[in-house]
Symmetry: C2
Subunit: 102 residues, 2 copies
DNA sequence: TTAAGTATATAGGATATCCGATATATATAA
DNA sequence: TTATATATATCGGATATCCTATATACTTAA
């Protein structure tokens, strides 16, 4: 039962949508920009098979929309619904991890 | 493809082990104490089928050990290995969620 | 007009998290 | 002693995340 690795206790599974909404709340971005920013933050870059289905699901949920499309490059931005979802998630996140960052 | 709920964008899946290690770094606790503290923080209490397998896996990984056992009540505490894993995870967590709490 | 680089897309599947249901053991109260 | 509450334990499975591999389309350079 190898649930935790050598020095790993946290794979952050389930936080991808939250992180994408957070990044888009700073500025509109396209898929590769988001993947690169996540690479800088987490240390590993999500693969195409990870990032694009996630964007699709968030769009399907009404949390983001295509702001601009130039060639194959699609820039996404938050919808009001996405901003609300992010706000709610932030509150929960803050309460849950109170004291972790200090 | 219902990946995100009505206003939910973040189920925090994959953070349970990290949270348990963090709580135990504050003080030794037993399973129910941990579950109750998580209930206060996240808003919902992890079920027995969630918390005990998680503790078992963290123990199996060498991140925590039984400090005391009185009746059925088992108090857990971090091992040096667990402290190191928590430290590493904290650094990654901090870098990943930089700017979310502010 | 090739060739190479960039960006997006999706199917299929491996893997892991987490929960519901259930069982057991201990402690306490009636 | 019976009943109740508390704490731990595990199986089986539903569910979701994420990756690998593959394909497509657009852009730019040679």
């Amino acid at each position: 039962m190898p649930r935790y690795g050598d020095e790993e206790c946290c794979d952050m599974r389930g936080m991808l949508g939250f992180l994408i909404l957070f990044l888009l709340s700073k500025k509109p971005m396209h898929g590769q920009e988001i993947a690169d920013e996540l690479a800088k933050r987490r240390g590993d870059k999500p693969s195409p098979g990870t990032i694009y289905p996630a964007l699709k699901s968030l769009k399907y949920a009404g949390f983001l929309r295509e702001e601009e499309k130039v060639g194959k490059t699609i820039t996404y931005c938050l919808t009001p619904r996405g901003m609300k979802a992010l706000h709610i998630a932030k509150r929960r996140f803050t309460r849950t991890f109170l004291g972790v960052l200090s």
